[in-house]
């Protein structure tokens, strides 16, 4: 048996001929992103998510039309705002869940260790998964957008061009969702606990605004009013904080800013989104370095 071994016995060449580190990392990120995207496209969950968004949007528009018909009002404000928000939020939830398993599952299975036998480091791996996550999100939005356009054409309801701007910039907020998922994935002890932690986080993110709204409804005449004031203040602070941290809050605020053509507000949200994404990505890299790649 003969196999070619042209470089095997040669003495190691000088370190200067090694490609720069950023080039190696970029190569790794590209390969991982490409493979993850291909894997997503060959999976059923991608197409299910792509179908559910437009389906729920159609349901919402149908209900809106029924309301208009029943009430006799000929006014419908922002008929496609909620459908677009539902579609983008669903896509962001999907990629957050995808990212939550992206590191934890291969680590459980032992294949993450094998990946690190190659010239791969944490920056390349996390970077590759972020690229893949954003690409998957963008594809989901690209599939949904013409379907929403078709819905607008069929119902004769207006689809504001500014909403398209909201759709166009939404991948920036999706980066935050991916990075948070990756951060959870790197630090969780197993894939099961990673999903549990994601679920718990989403519950908390939902509970805070709902809780705050509930507390606002406590009348001043109630005997619990004074006792609950502190809690209301705390919930308000947490809610305000979430508005700047949560990718879903940023998505909603960003889409709203685009609809209102409030460009200053939109740019502010985009900057916060980019900064937030970088912070979470850095935490994910740190988490992977700290926790390691072994099961």
């Amino acid at each position: 048996m003969q196999i070619s071994t042209s470089t095997v016995g040669k003495e190691r060449v000088a370190t200067r001929s090694d490609p720069p580190v950023w080039s190696l990392r970029w190569r790794v990120a590209r390969q991982i992103a490409g493979q993850e995207l291909r894997d997503a496209l060959f999976g059923w969950s991608f197409y299910l998510t792509a179908a559910i968004g437009p389906f729920l949007s159609a349901l919402f528009v149908y209900n809106s039309l029924n309301f208009v018909a029943a009430s006799g009002l000929l006014i419908q404000a922002r008929p496609f705002y909620v459908p677009v928000l539902v579609t983008t939020t669903l896509a962001a939830l999907y990629i957050a869940a995808w990212a939550t398993l992206a590191i934890a599952r291969p680590r459980d299975q032992g294949s993450l260790r094998v990946l690190f036998f190659a010239p791969v480091d944490e920056y390349g791996v996390i970077g590759g998964h972020i690229l893949a996550g954003v690409a998957i999100y963008a594809l989901l939005v690209l599939i949904a957008a013409p379907l929403l356009g078709l819905l607008a054409a069929l119902t004769n309801l207006p689809f504001p061009p500014l909403l398209l701007v909201g759709l166009l910039v939404s991948p920036v907020f999706a980066v935050v969702a991916v990075a948070i998922g990756l951060c959870i994935s790197t630090i969780a002890p197993s894939s099961r606990s990673a999903m549990f932690f994601l679920g718990a986080t989403l519950l908390v993110v939902l509970a805070i605004p709902i809780g705050y709204t509930a507390l606002l409804k406590v009348p001043p005449t109630s005997r619990y009013y004074d006792a609950l004031l502190f809690l209301r203040g705390l919930m308000q602070t947490l809610r305000d904080l979430l508005n700047w941290i949560s990718p879903y809050a940023l998505l909603s605020a960003g889409t709203d800013a685009a609809m209102r053509a409030s460009w200053g507000d939109l740019i502010q949200r985009l900057v916060v989104g980019i900064a937030g994404g970088m912070v979470w990505a850095a935490l994910a890299i740190w988490g992977l370095q700290r926790r390691g790649v072994l099961p």
């Binding site: 071994t5 095997v8 190691r12 090694d18 490609p19 032992g110 094998v114 010239p119």
Partner: protein, 310 residues
């Protein structure tokens, strides 16, 4: 090629690797032996930077490897113990994915050569996760060889392979070494190490007990000898009497043959003959044997011969 200086790994109360000083030279096949739990895989993980050592360092070509270094892995090919292929890729796609990670833009020719060499050509488009254990092992070897590394690290490379597969792997390892490559094999299949290795390191409870050439190892262990005695009949009391002798380490019975591992280099045939005759045994044949690596391994890693390492 690869050196470790006082490499140590401690997990809370457990010392997995203790001040390991390995020296794997360019162009040799280095056999890394040790019982289960000795620290072999932990050592390999530290060599590759997958685990950070508690203290000590790894040097490749004389350059210390830092905790964030990873470019050095371009020169290394690794076959892991218990190959795992959980991806959604075919065998061919998986190897091409890794080839691109190593910077090979058009690896298809090389891939074909390797797939054909290891009899995986016909199944290359099957899902890697559906491969048998032996096929996954071969796929791991292809993945490790695709970029023509200067150092091959093999952790149980023939595990799960049939005899034909073992022969193929052995040929590749020998051919690789003849071409100037360096091979670091960690294995329990001692006969494979014995056939291939130029030098051997034996790890026990995290410590490197011996690092020597095969000839040096046998010479070191020449203090002990092995003897085979064939008797007309073996009485059970005879085996007990032999085992209780201070100069005998171990007695194994195989039918009418007794294989003895002796603690001494002295000629004790007369003593043995007298003991056997007194027990009523009739000696048909008595012969001294060279110790195999398996026996050397068992001897070296048993606690009452730790002094041998000194």
């Amino acid at each position: 090629m690869i050196k470790t200086e006082n490499l140590t790994k401690r997990y809370q109360n457990h010392l997995a690797v203790d001040s390991l000083c390995l020296d794997v030279r360019l162009g040799e096949i280095y056999g890394f032996l040790g019982p289960n739990g000795a620290g072999k895989t932990t050592t390999i993980h530290m060599l590759l930077g997958l685990i950070r050592p508690t203290s000590g360092q790894v040097l490749i070509h004389g350059e210390a490897i830092g905790p964030r270094d990873f470019a050095f892995k371009r020169q290394i090919g690794v076959v892991a113990e218990e190959p795992v292929e959980a991806s959604k890729m075919s065998g061919w796609e998986l190897v091409r994915f890794f080839a691109r990670l190593y910077g090979l833009e058009k690896p298809e020719l090389r891939m074909e050569e390797l797939f054909r060499s290891l009899d995986l050509w016909d199944v290359r488009h099957g899902m890697a996760r559906d491969y048998s254990r032996g096929m996954r092992q071969k796929l791991s070897l292809i993945r490790a060889l695709i970029h023509e590394p200067r150092l091959l690290i093999l952790d149980e490379p023939v595990s799960g392979l049939d005899p034909h597969g073992i022969r193929q792997v052995r040929e590749i390892i020998n051919y690789y070494q003849q071409a100037g490559g360096t091979v670091f094999i960690s294995s329990h299949i001692l006969s494979e190490i014995e056939h291939s290795a130029n030098r051997v390191g034996i790890l026990h409870e995290g410590r490197l007990l011996i690092e020597d050439s095969m000839a040096g190892l046998r010479q070191r262990l020449a203090k002990q000898q092995r003897m085979t005695i064939e008797l007309e009949q073996v009485a059970p009391e005879l085996v007990k009497r032999l085992t209780s002798q201070p100069y005998i380490v171990q007695v194994q019975q195989e039918g009418r043959q007794l294989h003895l591992l002796l603690r001494t280099q002295a000629d004790i045939r007369a003593q043995l003959s007298r003991l056997i005759t007194d027990s009523g045994g009739i000696i048909l044949k008595m012969q001294g044997d060279e110790m195999s690596l398996e026996e050397a391994f068992v001897t070296i890693t048993s606690q009452d011969v730790l002094a041998l390492a000194e």
